[in-house]
Subunit: 591 residues, 2 copies
Amino acid sequence: MPTYTAPLRDMRFVLNELAGTERLRTLPGCEEVGPDLVDPVLEEAARFCAEVLLPLNQSGDIEGCTLENGVVRTPRGFPEAYRAFREGGWTSLGADPDWGGQGLPKSVGLLVEEMICSANMAFGMYPGLSHGATMAIEKHGTPEQRALYLPKLVSGEWSGTMCLTEPHCGTDLGLIRTRAVPEDDGSVRITGAKIFISAGEHDLAENIVHLVLAKLPDAPPGTRGISLFVVPKFLPTEDGRPGARNGVTCTGLEHKMGIKASATCALAFEEAKGWLVGRPHKGLSAMFTMMNEARLGVGVQGLGIAEIAYQNAVAYARDRIQGRGLDGTKAPDRPADPILVHPDVRRMLLTMRAMTEGCRALCAMTALEHDVSLRHPDPEVRKAADDVVQLMTPIIKAVCTDTGWEAAVAGMQVWGGHGYIRDNGMEQFARDARITQIYEGTNGIQALDLVGRKMGAHAGRYLRSFFHPVLGFIEARMEEPAMEEFILPLSKAFGRLQQVTADLAQRGLRDPFEAGAAATDYLRLFGLTALAYAWARMAEIALGKEEDAFYRAKLATARFFMQRILPETSSLAAKVLAGGGTLKAFEDAAF
Amino acid sequence: MPTYTAPLRDMRFVLNELAGTERLRTLPGCEEVGPDLVDPVLEEAARFCAEVLLPLNQSGDIEGCTLENGVVRTPRGFPEAYRAFREGGWTSLGADPDWGGQGLPKSVGLLVEEMICSANMAFGMYPGLSHGATMAIEKHGTPEQRALYLPKLVSGEWSGTMCLTEPHCGTDLGLIRTRAVPEDDGSVRITGAKIFISAGEHDLAENIVHLVLAKLPDAPPGTRGISLFVVPKFLPTEDGRPGARNGVTCTGLEHKMGIKASATCALAFEEAKGWLVGRPHKGLSAMFTMMNEARLGVGVQGLGIAEIAYQNAVAYARDRIQGRGLDGTKAPDRPADPILVHPDVRRMLLTMRAMTEGCRALCAMTALEHDVSLRHPDPEVRKAADDVVQLMTPIIKAVCTDTGWEAAVAGMQVWGGHGYIRDNGMEQFARDARITQIYEGTNGIQALDLVGRKMGAHAGRYLRSFFHPVLGFIEARMEEPAMEEFILPLSKAFGRLQQVTADLAQRGLRDPFEAGAAATDYLRLFGLTALAYAWARMAEIALGKEEDAFYRAKLATARFFMQRILPETSSLAAKVLAGGGTLKAFEDAAF
C-alpha cells in the first residue's frame, strides 16, 4: 500500500522563502501568518492526511459508492473520517470568521488541500465542492441566504454541490434545459436533469446544498439566459434545521475510471423548491467568479497526485533490485543493484520531481497573488494581483493536472509490471488523476481561455503581469555568473514565448481558428516558461546554501529542469508557428 | 458501446502499395500472396473481430476472470468465442503447414493481429501466448517435442505460456530461483514460483503448455545459467491426449488496471514434470530468438488500441454538439456545432490518426523485412533484412505502444467527461493499452536495447540498414518540387538523428551511463524520424492520385505529421545532447 509523508520542508520553502510570508503579513487579517501560526497547522494536516485519509484511499477505490433506493453510501470509514475532518476544523480553515471560519489565507489553504489530494483525492471532493457552494452564496447570496447556509457549510454539517452539466451539455452551458418556474412566495420550482454531480448525494452530511444553473421562463437564449439557484436537499426549517425532503433525487451513480469513492451523481429535479442566488440571467457570470478558485483547486489535485506518485516511485526504486549500474556495480553485497542507479529510472524520477516542485512553486506564487487580490486595501494593488491570477489560472489548471497525470503514469512505469497491479496502488493514482485534466473545463478549454480571453484582454494587460516581472528578473541577473546556468535557458524560453505570442496575437486576430489551433501547444509553452521562472527564482534562493542538502537538491533539480525538460519549448514554439492550416484543410468527411 | 470497423482500405494500402506484395511474392511459400488470397482473409477477420470479439470486450472487462479451487474461469462468452476462433483457423494462420498451419506471411498476420487487438486485446492474449510457445518449440524443441506439441498448439486445442517472471525479478532474469532437477528418464522436476503469467490457467483449451525458465543444478550464476523447459499442465498420454495432472497450479489471479479478461496468473511449480527445450543453460538466448516477434506483437497491440480509440473519438466528435466554430457557425440548423469543428479537437484527432497510420506503415514495412529474413533463399538477403528487423523492433515496440496509450488517452479527452465513464468504453482502451508499455521489456528497456545493443553492434551495421535507405530516399527526391514539403522536414529530422547518433556513440562509449541517460529520448527521436520516412513514402504514393479521397486524406495527414508532430525532434535532440550530468549529479539520498 502506498505511503505518504507530507513534503513539509518544501511547503515551508515555497510559502516562506519563495512566495514570501512578509508580503502576506501586510494583508488585513493575515498579520499573524508566520511559522508560529502556520507550522502547527501544516503538521496537524500532515498527520491527519497520513493517518486518517490515506488508509481509506485504496479501500475507497475498491469499494466505491453504492446507490440503493435513492440513498448513496460512501465507502466504509468515510463517514467517520468526514466527521473527524469536520471536527478538526478542516472545512473552515479558509472561511470567513463571520461564518465561523478561521480566515487563513489561500496561500496556506492550498498547501493543506495538496496534502488532502495526495492522501485521498476522492475524499477531498466532498469538502471541495462545499467550498464552491460556500463561495457562491457568500458572493452572490442575500443576507438571509448567507445567514442560513454559510455557518452550516463552513462547519461542514451541510455540504454543497455545483449542478451545471446536463446529459447533452457540459462545456457549452448555453444549451441547458433545466427550468425554474417562479412561485408567488419568491421561490422557484426547478425541473430538469443534471449529470456528473460530484457529492450530489451521500451519507456524510445532514443536508446537501445544491447550487443549480437553470433558466427562468423569460430567459434570453444561450449563456445570457442562465440563472443560479440554491436548492437544498432538505428544506431548512424556521430554526435552520433540515426539514421536509425537497424534490431532488439521485437517479444514478456513474461507474468511473477513478475517484470511485467520490459519488458522481445523476440528479433529477422535479419541481424542487429553490431560490435565486444573485441576479436573474446572471448565473453563469456568478459561476465564473468562482471558477478561478475552483480551477486552482483542480490544479492542486494534480499536484497532490504527482507528489504521492513521486514518493512511492522513489521508495520502490530504492527497494527493488534489478540489474547492475551501467557505469559499474553499486551494491556489490547484493545480487543486484537498486533500480535507482539506472539512468532512465533517475530520468523518470527527476522529471516527476522537477515538475512537481515546479508546480508547487507556481501554485504558491499564484496563491499569494490571490490573497493580495482579495485582501489588499489598495484597489490598484488588488487589480494588479488579480491580473496575475487571471492569467495563471488556466495555466496552473492545465499544467498541474498534466503533471499529476504524467507523474502517476511515470510512477507506474518505475514500478514496472507491479505498477499495473491494483494492490500496489500506483495505477489508482493514474486513474484518479485522469479526471483532473477533464473537469472544471478540459485542459483544451483552459488553453482557449488563455489564447481567447486572457491574451488579448485589456490590450495585453494580463500578459504584461507575467512578462514584465520575468523580463525584470532576467535583466537584473544578466551579470551574475552563478545564475547564468538558470538565466540563459530561462531567457531563451522566454524569448520563444514572446516571439510566439506576437505571432499568434496577429494571426489569431485575423482568424480565431488559428488561435484555437495553437492553443494547447501555446499553453504548454507558456507553462514551461513560467516553471522555468519559478525554478530560476528557487535556484537563486538556494545558491550559497549548498551545505544544506535541501538546497543542494533544489539546485540539482533546477539544473535538471533547465537541461532536460525546458528544451521542450523549442518544439512547442515550432508547432505553434506552423499554424493551423493542416487542421483546417483536412476534410470533415475524411476523418 | 464502442464500435469498430477494420481499416481494410488502409491495411491494403500499407501491404500492397507501401511495403509491396511483389517482393513478398518472390519468397518461397508466398508466391500466391496477393489481393485474391489476402482480401478474403482480411475481410473475414474483420467480420469475426467486429461480430464475435468486440461484443465481449466490455463485458470481459467488467466481469474479469475468476479463480476458484485452482480453476480459472474466463468471462462469459470467451470459451465459445475461442472455439469459434480456433475453428475459423485463426490460431493457425501464420503457422508452418507441416504442423497444420496455413503458412501465411507475417505481413498478413500482423494485420489480422491488429484487428484482434482493436476488438478485444485481452482475448488476443490467449492465442498470442500460444504463438510464442509454438515458436519456442519449433525452433528449439526435439523432433519428438515438435510432433507432440505443435499440431495441438497450431490447432489451438492446446494453448501455451511463457513463464519468465518471478516475484523478485522480471527485467533481470539472471536472478531467477526456479529449479529443475534432472530425473533418470531424461525429464526434470521443476519447483518454483512464477508470477504475471498470462493465460497461465484458463478454461479455453484442454491443455496448457508452459515454457518455463529455470536453473539446472550445475547452472552457472546469472543469465548464462538459465535453461528452458516445456511443462504441460496435463502430461500427454502415449497417444497425445491430456493425461495425468502435472504439479503446476494457479495460486492467484492479479487484479490489474486493465486487460481484466486476460488471466494473469501466479503459478506454483511443485516438482512438476518437464523436459529441456534446446541446450542446457541456453534458455535465455532461446527466449530471445522469439523476443523480436513478441515485441512486434506488443507493438501491434498498441496500434490496435490506437485505431479503435481513434474511430470512436471521431464518431463522438461528429455526434456531440457543443459551442460554435471559432471561425463561424457550421451547423446553423442545430443549437450548436459538432465538436469536430473545433481546432483543438481536430488537433487531437489528427495526432491520433497520423501516429496510428504511421505506426501501421512502420509495422508493415518491418513485417515485410521479417518475412524476407525468414524465407529468402539468399542468406545475405536474409541477413540484411534481419538487420532492419533487429533495429526496428525496439523502436516499434516502444513507439507503437506509446501511440496506443496516447491515442487512448486523447480519445478520452475528445469525449470529455463522458470519456471517464466506464460504460462508454473509452477509458478501457487506456487501461488496456497501459500494460503494453510495460511488458515484454518496458519501453525503457527497449531504449536501452537500441542504444546498448543495436547502435554499436557490428560496427553500426544495424544503424546503416536504416540510415542508408533513408539517405538514398532523400537524395533521390531533392529535385522534386512536389515532394519538397515532405522531404525537407524529413531531412531536417534525419540530420538531427545523425548528429545525435554520432554524439551519443562517442559519449556512450566513454561512459555507458551517458547512453542510458539519453536512451528514451533517443529512441523517440529515432521513432519519429522513422515515421517521417514512412509518411514521406506514403505521400509519394498518394501524390497525383488526389481525385481519390483516400489519397487526399493521406496527403493531408502527411502534411499534419510533418508540420505539427515532427518538430518534436528538435527538443528530443536537445535533451539528448544535454547529456546525463544532471542525472548522475543528483544525490541518491536526496530523492
